[in-house]
Subunit: 316 residues, 2 copies
């Protein structure tokens, strides 16, 4: 099924950065950038847009801020050869610190929010629109949002100027049926808007849920090299590109970046499917307890981990 | 969606044995057996049924033969507390060597075959039926079978007494759409027969393809602990059981076996998603080249591996 309108967003540095506090060195980020350009990927999300008063450069790397001088080290002279994106969290970026799009190497700003932050998210998103950026709102943790709150949030988005809205499986708890139901819900509530999809791999379903979203009309698909990302990680971009078979996309440059830059990272950062992530995903809980467990000496004692979780009897 | 008729088949020892020539020691196999019993899993496939003149015990472990005295070491005295299965390959077992079911600890024999072996498969399967076993035929590599050959094979199965037929994704090359198409095809051609499903994880789709088969009416689902199996491995049984939420099944005993017996195996046997398996899966090729590559010193050079495969330009 050939769908020309499909666009792929690589989140390797932004989501992968959750695993190492965005402390990727410039040659790695430059390698990822050049490989994505060669592969024909549509967007590269290079990090978070944050103000320095909220985070210390002693603790987090440059891709937590996406300062223009750091982006320039990756892109080199002139315009970027791929659309560049950064994610903004509510309350972590001062509006005045966002330059007009014409003065920035960034093309897109994605606003991540929880349902009770939707008013603030729309305010920030429309501010970025007015500065010339492409803009999305990514509603997190929708698997825990009740119907009335979701309807109100979708109604607010429908009445906003924000053109792209994301279905995000924050906890990696969605099956194909949930994706299909929410895609239908989002599309019905948001006529004329593009729906994006961002999955997590707690139940080894990130790739198939991405296919399900695509089949239901999602046009902007998130993925990362070798699935790198927080916890169980994301949809692996190399599997997605092999599936899409889109004439604009090439697989070999992605394999080259993976073997040159991403595979070596696995010696220092651990991501991907592990049982603690399955447990939090299947219980529809935030992965933070699983992430903490995986960083501890008890990481292989799944049984006691599961028994420590509230409501674990639901799954026993 | 609660479907009482769903049955789960654990293939840990049989399919996992492809990775270590079935050289699992008795305490491990006994641990798997006891855990599966406690978890309420329906079937345990403990190995292959082969005649000793075709393989040497110096090279392969006891689960390549499934001799009664070896099965007895696992089950202990009395009847087995779970249905026990063994797989038979065409031409690797002498009919006279198969005892009547009443004299065996095995309850089921699954006959694996390629499409051009269907006559032999039906002959062997009906022989096993006559000896009192539950019997399946598992048609391998259907992703490379043309329509006419498949129709003829399905017609032969329809006219046989064999009650269960398996959809097998041998190369890990199927997407959800392929599973749905073949489930429809098999069910239409084989009225009154049960369809089983066996997936592989080359494109991280073993779990979701199992869900797709289930949604389309498959009632017998193969899986293994932590997805252990040849190459990219199988559908992980712990994810499947967490998904099914079937009252007869329990997750915790599976997690206990994994942490006691399967996770330690990962130090000596490597299975699961790796890029060479993605490449052979996406190219619809047998994984043997990827398995050889993963056992070599060049296992991390994906780019040259891909370029060595015939037809790699299809994916480039």
């Amino acid at each position: 099924m050939y769908r020309k309108e499909i666009k792929v967003m690589d989140c390797t540095i932004r989501d992968g950065g959750l695993m190492n506090k965005w402390q990727f060195d410039v040659p790695l980020v430059k390698g990822v950038y050049e490989g994505l350009v060669e592969a024909g990927v549509d967007y590269m999300e290079i990090g978070y847009l944050s103000s320095e008063k909220y985070f210390s450069r002693d603790e987090v790397g440059p891709w937590k801020f996406c300062a223009e001088e750091d982006l320039r080290k990756v892109v080199g002279d002139g315009e970027a050869k791929i659309k560049m994106s950064a994610m903004a969290d509510i309350g972590r970026i001062d509006l005045d610190a966002i330059p007009p799009c014409e003065d920035s190497l960034l093309d897109m700003i994605r606003v991540a929010c929880y349902v009770h932050q939707m008013d603030k998210a729309i305010f920030l998103a429309e501010h970025c629109l007015d500065k010339g950026y492409e803009v999305t709102i990514n509603l997190m943790a929708v698997s825990t949002v009740n119907v009335r709150d979701l309807n109100e949030a979708l109604n607010d988005v429908a009445n906003s100027r924000v053109p792209i809205f994301y279905l995000v499986d924050s906890f990696g708890s969605f099956y194909q049926e949930s994706i299909e139901f929410l895609m239908d819900t989002y599309q019905k509530a948001l006529p004329g808007k593009i729906i994006g999809f961002h999955g997590h791999n707690n139940m080894q379903l990130a790739m198939s849920n991405t296919i399900s979203a695509l089949m239901k009309g999602s046009e902007l698909l998130d993925a990362t090299l070798l699935g790198i990302g927080r916890g169980a990680g994301n949809c692996p971009i190399e599997i997605l590109v092999a599936f899409l078979k889109n004439p604009k996309l090439r697989l070999l440059p992605l394999l080259q970046i993976i073997q040159d830059h991403i595979l070596p990272l696995q010696r220092t950062i651990e991501w991907g499917y592990h049982i603690p992530y399955l447990i939090t995903g299947a219980l529809n809980q935030h992965p933070r307890s699983a992430i903490a467990r995986m960083a501890s000496e008890q990481k292989d004692d799944f049984v006691s981990f599961m028994k420590e979780l509230h409501d674990y009897e639901l799954l026993e």
